[in-house]
Subunit: 112 residues, 2 copies
């Protein structure tokens, strides 16, 4: 399976990739998980400990974050250590930056 880790190059892919990344953060619990992992790598159990959600649910959210490439899990003995894939988070940030730059080309024509 190709790891979708690299930044998609295709211009059409950008929309899709932006949507994909946005979808990964489209739930408060997942945003929270990313925040927690940015502060400190953690295993699933620690995250469950911080959220009002069942272990199965957290594992599900982690799976989505992994599929979007935002989070990486490494098997570490009996547990799995998760961390944020910073490149990927930056990719999202930059995709948005790209949108905003294009917006500047059409100055204050305004909505009114």
């Amino acid at each position: 399976m190709s790891t979708t880790t690299r930044t998609a190059a295709s211009p059409l892919g950008q929309e899709l990739d932006l949507a994909l990344l946005a979808k990964a953060l489209a739930h408060p619990a997942r945003v929270r998980i990313v925040q927690l992992l940015l502060a400190k790598d953690a295993c699933c159990g620690e995250i469950v400990d911080e959220l009002p959600l069942a272990q199965a649910t957290v594992s599900q959210h982690l799976k989505m974050l992994k599929e979007a490439g935002l989070v990486i899990g490494e098997i570490e003995g009996p547990r799995v250590s998760y961390c944020v894939n910073r490149e990927r988070l930056e990719a999202l940030h930059e995709l948005l930056g790209g949108l905003l730059e294009k917006a500047k080309e059409v100055d204050t024509s305004g909505c009114d």
Copy 2:
């Protein structure tokens, strides 16, 4: 309604707002719509013209974008002119920037 334009003060609100904005962009069609509107304000019909979607569907997407505050619609004679609320898009960009900054506080604790 208070425009959530300013940086949300409540730390909890940030997660929710980020998730809300991300959800609005969590579909390729909506990303496309935002791109189109950034390039040029447009009415619903013009957007429908650019997308392989029915008018009702596009209207639905526009509604979601409006609810997230990303898009503004102004009735202009017989039609409705839509434009992107740049502040709001920047808010999303900055919320992500905030996340990335916090990430730097914990340098190379590393995923490996």
